[in-house]
Structures are given as C-alpha cells and as structure tokens.
C-alpha cells in the first residue's frame, strides 16, 4: 500500500518529463533571447536566439558609436601628445559620453601638477561610423573616469540617419546599469587600437560579472584594450549601461563606468563641471544670483589683488564666454591653487581683462 502511493508522484514526474520530450520542437523554431536572462544558452537554438539579439542591437547602435582623436597641449610633464579613444552619442544635439582620461590627459605617476583645465584636450575630433571627422568640445568630467563632450560640427551631407538633414545626430539610449545582474549578456563596441580604416567599431560579447563598489565600476568579461576607452557597453535592449574605462591583468577584468553615474551628474557634466575635486580654490569673490556680476570682494583676497571690484560683470572666464551665471559655477571648477586665470569684465561701460591668481580655500574648522 505504502509502496503504491509513493510510486504515484514518481510516475507523475516521469509522465511530465516524457510529455516534455514528446512535445515536438520544430527544428527551425526560433528562440527569442530575453535581454535580462542571466543563464548561458542551453541549446543551439538558444545560441542562435542570442546571436540574433546581438546582431539586431549592433545594427541599431553602430551609428551612434564613435571614435575620438584628441590632441593634448604641451605642459610641464612633457611635449604635446595625441591619443585615441571611443565614445557614444546620447543626444540629438550632439552630447557624447566618453571616459574622462580620453579628453583629459592623466598625469604620469599620480598627482597632477596641472589642473584639469590645463590638461584637457585642445582639439577633439569625433570619428563617425563612415569615417568622417567632426569637431567636438570637451565638457565635464568626474573622478570615476566619466567624461562628456559636445559635437560642435554638423552632420556630413552624405549622412543618412534619421534627422541628419536637420542637424540631428544618431542617438543611443541610456539604460539602467543598477539593474544589471550577474551573468546578464552584454555587448561592447569600441575602437581597440584607435579608429581604423575599413573597420567599424569592433563588437565583443560577454557577460556582466559584478559591480565593484570601491572602484565605482562595472566589471564584465567583454575584452577591452587601449582605444576602447569611452566606448559603450550595451545591454541586449541596445541601451548604454556602461562606458569603457580600464582593464586588469586577466581577460575577465574589464571595467566600465556605470551609466547611472552619468544620469546622476548629467546637468553638471553638460555645464562643464569638473566633479569631485579634492582641492577647492578660492576666487575671493561672490556672485549675484540674477547676473554674472560680483556681489562682494574678500578684502586682500585673490579677486581684490587682481583689481576686481563689486559690480563688475564677468564677460569671459578663462577665455570662455559666460552666458548665464548658473554656468559660471561649473566653469569655476577644475582649477588648482596658484593658477592664473584671465577674467574679462565690463565696468562702467569699459571692457578689460584682469589676471586672477587663485588661492587654496582655507579649510573651516
């Protein structure tokens, strides 16, 4: 009696199992790969499904994946240099995400003697998918290797992506890097070795491994190498979830800046802010809220020594036009103490340029 009863669940299981075998699976049945699936393909059909999804998004995102060629000015650490990296266009008006170290020369061996502002690339060219070069200007960077730039040129006449004739750029959407799960399949595009003739951004497929909190970096096994910096990591929906940053010794050590960081700091990066500086500089003036006019001058502070006065209207800061007082806050970042900054002001109808030597902001107890 007992034996018979205990057999029933086994029989039931066996029958269900058999039913699974008996159900006909058509040889040409297409598997659609779910973009958030974290397991490996188990059959050839699943492998093909994953392949189709990869190919679909590569087609979608290739136009927005770009190469970058940057020229760095000569500075205290050495002569002028050039470098190459990658990026991804994320807005129709030409905002491009990249790695900070692509557009800002990293100092050899640690601390910079020069500020970001003096280490930023003088000339940035964006290499489009058809090989055309267009000019771009560096915007903000942060300390976790995120960077942003804006294309200043226009789409070439031969451009065929939607909106090209109206001056719009092909865009990749930004995805949710926080929701990535271990094992989830991802695709990396970039220009390893720098942009190369006859080679569109090289495609690699891999999987999300983990988020390294101490590095603020996503780790995947999509292999990366010099030239890939700043290039996009996509999920299988074709959304940018990371920006390539650095590698470790093993092939499975590939680190990307999480897309979430860019989303959090978007406005600040667009305004050109250098985010996360350790040393704050003292200008010795405060600004009014409604206009870029000086509200007060600290006695014997840097602004006072430069000859600035209350009421002066700042026209240009460090050679850059000041359009709104809100932008000025971002433009003040990225400097080091003792740097001399030219400030063009208007006072009583007269325009003049004064030289401001920045000081280190005293730490408050």
């Amino acid at each position: 009696m007992v034996a018979a009863r205990s057999l029933r669940p086994i029989l039931a299981a066996a029958l269900i199992g058999l039913a699974g075998l008996i159900t006909p699976v058509r040889a040409d049945e297409k598997i659609v790969w779910k973009s958030d699936r974290t397991s490996s393909p188990e059959t050839v059909a699943e492998l093909k499904g994953l392949q189709e999804q990869v190919k679909k998004i590569v087609q979608q995102v290739s136009p927005s994946t770009v190469g970058l060629i940057v020229e760095f000015p000569a500075d205290d650490s050495g002569p002028a240099e050039s470098g190459a990296g990658s990026g991804v266009i994320v807005s129709e008006d030409g905002l491009v995400l990249t790695a900070a170290h692509v557009i800002c020369k990293e100092p050899e061996g640690g601390r910079a003697r020069q500020s970001y502002r003096r280490r930023v690339a003088r000339e940035i060219k964006v290499v489009l998918s058809d090989g055309t070069l267009v000019d771009a200007k560096g915007l903000g960077v942060n300390r976790v290797d995120g960077g942003m730039l804006r294309i200043t040129g226009k789409p070439p006449k031969t451009a065929s992506w939607p909106g090209a004739k109206d001056g719009k750029w092909p865009v990749a959407k930004i995805g949710d890097s926080d929701s990535l799960k271990e094992g989830q399949w991802v695709v990396s595009l970039g220009h390893p070795g720098g942009p190369r003739k006859d080679r569109p951004p090289a495609v690699r497929v891999g999987r999300y491994i983990t988020y390294i909190k101490s590095e603020t970096a996503i780790r995947t096994d999509c292999t990366l190498v010099g030239g890939d910096s700043g290039g996009p990591l996509f999920d299988l929906n074709g959304n940018v979830v990371g920006i390539h940053s650095r590698i470790g010794l093993f092939l499975t050590n590939n680190m990307h800046v999480p897309a979430a960081i860019f989303q959090e700091q978007w406005d600040r990066l667009v305004r050109g802010e250098v985010i996360g500086q350790r040393v704050i500089v003292e200008t010795g003036f405060t600004l009014n809220e409604d206009a870029a006019t000086l509200k007060s001058i600290v006695e014997e502070g840097p602004a006072a020594k430069a000859g600035l006065e209350e009421g002066d209207l700042i026209l240009k800061w460090n050679g850059e036009k000041v359009k709104k007082v809100e932008d000025l806050a971002a433009m003040l970042t990225g400097f080091e103490p003792n740097e001399v900054v030219p400030v063009e002001i208007k006072r009583d109808g007269q325009t003049m340029t004064l030289k401001l030597t920045l000081a280190k902001k005293p730490t408050k107890k």
Partner: protein, 347 residues
C-alpha cells in the same frame, strides 16, 4: 591579495592606477566555458578536416586539410624542423614542407594519405558581424568560441607591416642607406646583443649569416628566420674596413629594459595571454573575439551552421583573433600547390 594595477584604455595613453580590481573567479566563467559543447554539431564536419601540427612532437599549430590526397595548410611562421600532423582519430603522419606564402603566413604541407576529408570554404556573405564562430581542433569541441567583431578587411598602417616578434633581436635601430646595398646601424642600444659583440652606430650591415642584406625590409625578413639564443655572423663595413661579428641574439623582452622601447599598447595587448609572434601584415582578415592560443592557429573557423569562413592565422591582441577569409585562401593555395612559393625563395 596583491592589488594589480589597472590600465586605462586610451590608445597611446596608458596609466597605471594605484588600485586594481579583484580577480576572483565567479560563476559566470563556468557559464561561458560550457558554450563550446553547444558547438559540437557545428564543428563536427570541419573537425574531421583539422589536424594538429607538431614539430618534434610538440604542438606548434593546427592545420586545415585542403585536398583528399593530403595537402594541408597551416600557419607557417613557427615551423622549423621535422613536421608531423595528427588527425582526429589519432593517426600521425610525417609532413613535407612544400611552400610558404609570407604575406598570409600560410604554409603548404603534404602528408602521404588518401581519402581525407578536405574543407569547403563557404561563399563570403554580408552581415556576419555578431555571429557566433568556433575555431576547430581535433577533439569534438572547438578550441575557442566567440563572435565576429569585424568583417573581412584589408589592413593599413602599422598592422600592414610584416614582422615577427618571436624573432631573435640584435638590439639596434636600423636606418636606410642612401646609395648601395646594406642597412645602416643608426643606434646600438645599451647592453644590447649587438653591443656585446662590439657593433657600433654608423656600421653598415652587408651580410647576415652569409646572405646579402639589400635594405631594411630585407633585413627584417632575414631576421625572422632566427630565434633568441641563435648565434649569427654579421658582416659589417666600418669606415674602410669589413668586419665579421658573431652575435648571440636576444629576445624582445630583453629589449624592453630600455624605456624607449616600451609601447603601452603592446603592454595592454599582452595582458591576458600570449599573442602570435607573427600577427601583422596579412592581406585580409576577419576579426573575432575568440581567445585563440597562438599554438591553436592554422585550423578552420566555422559558424553555427558549420560553414567554414577561413583559416585562423593569429592571436593578434587582447581583444582579437584573426582569420584569413576562405576566398583569399583559395588563390594562395593554388599558387602554393603550383610551386610559386618554394621554401627559401624571397618574394
């Protein structure tokens, strides 16, 4: 655990970061390792046309059977000595080395066998980027799998120069001679193999191991025949004199002690595994992200439908392995069989 420095990835800019990421293995690695099993059906046919190429019973490459009567193509740059080929069923044959096409690095071997199964190269087609591919070996599973990163392309610039980093090095910088044959020694690196033999800047190299040196490219080509540790006789002209120097060649690693020689992209490309010595200068390549060992080059590359795309020719970098497309292989094979590239001939 010792922290490894991480490398930033702008080309021509590489910076050591004072902190590194953990190298702990995770369960995702097991997942990727299971993939080759799924390719068993796709590779079955091409595996029968794949051989293991050995020199002195040591694996040096894989090979691709291209005729039923025993013609085999393989990667030629590391073949030296007695060559043998081992098939899937374990049978081994001595191989004759018939010809070498230097630009493609394809070598033609012949074994005395019959009724072998040759590969059939598929017609090239568009839209292959993102396709799964597998490099076949002589077991039921492929030696490496990955995806196509870039379709067949011509190489330009530095990648188009033929060079072999496994060769023996003198440790000198070459220059051109304005008039006449030979090659100028512009500089002899400190502690270089050449300096130990008293070679000096402004010497003109006339002969290498008895062969006349016509110019810089010719010198590089001749040097590819030698390996670190080989001793060669170099005939030079210094002023009015002609001298013979015996030089024991060093390796590329020896050279890197000179900071002038360190190339950041080389360092990064070497992170994660060995690269092929000859990894540039091919006529056309298909690029994929398989992790191919240098000694597993020379066999076929297939897609999920079992179509043979070409012959794997190099582990070219950290992110790439390269394959010569089938339609590029075929005319080279024809010329090799016709005796157009016998060994010892300069092209």
């Amino acid at each position: 655990m010792k922290r490894l420095p991480a490398q930033f990835l702008a080309a021509a800019l590489g910076v050591f970061l004072a902190a590194g990421a953990s190298s702990a293995q995770t369960s995702t690695d097991n997942g990727k390792r299971r993939l080759p099993k799924l390719f068993a059906e796709a590779v079955a046919s091409a595996t029968e046309s794949t051989v293991r190429v050995q020199v002195a019973n040591k694996d040096v490459a894989l090979g691709t059977v291209v005729s039923p009567d025993g013609y085999i193509l393989t990667k030629g740059s590391e073949l030296r000595g007695d060559i043998s080929c081992v098939f899937r069923d374990g049978s081994a044959y001595d191989a004759r080395y018939l010809g070498y096409h230097r630009p493609s690095d394809l070598a033609l071997l012949k074994v005395d066998a019959e009724a072998l199964k040759p590969v059939t190269f598929a017609e090239p087609k568009a839209g292959i980027i993102g396709n799964w591919v597998a490099a076949t070996g002589i077991t039921s599973e492929p030696v490496a799998v990955g995806v196509i990163s870039a379709a067949a392309r011509k190489l330009y610039g530095e990648q188009s120069f033929i060079d072999n980093t496994n060769k023996g090095y003198l440790g000198i910088i070459l220059g051109d001679i304005a008039d006449g044959d030979g090659v100028l020694v512009r500089e002899v690196s400190k502690d270089a193999p050449a300096s130990k033999a008293n070679m000096k800047a402004k010497d003109v190299i006339l002969e290498l191991a008895g062969k006349a040196v016509k110019g810089r490219d010719n010198m590089i080509e001749l040097m590819e025949n030698y390996r670190p540790g080989d001793t060669i006789t170099v005939k030079i002209r210094r002023g009015d004199e002609e001298l013979e120097l015996k030089i024991k060649l060093g390796s590329k690693a020896d050279l890197n002690k000179d900071p002038k020689n360190i190339d950041r992209s080389e360092i990064q490309n070497a992170m994660g595994g060995a690269l092929s010595g000859r990894r540039t200068g091919f006529p056309m390549v298909i690029q994929h992200d398989t992790v191919l060992k240098p000694t597993d080059c020379g066999g076929p590359l297939v897609d999920l439908d079992g179509k043979v795309l070409g012959i794997n020719i190099a582990r070219a970098g950290r992110v790439e392995s390269w394959t010569i497309p089938g339609d590029v292989v075929l005319p080279i094979l024809k010329d090799l069989k016709a005796g157009k590239y016998p060994l010892g001939k300069k092209d």
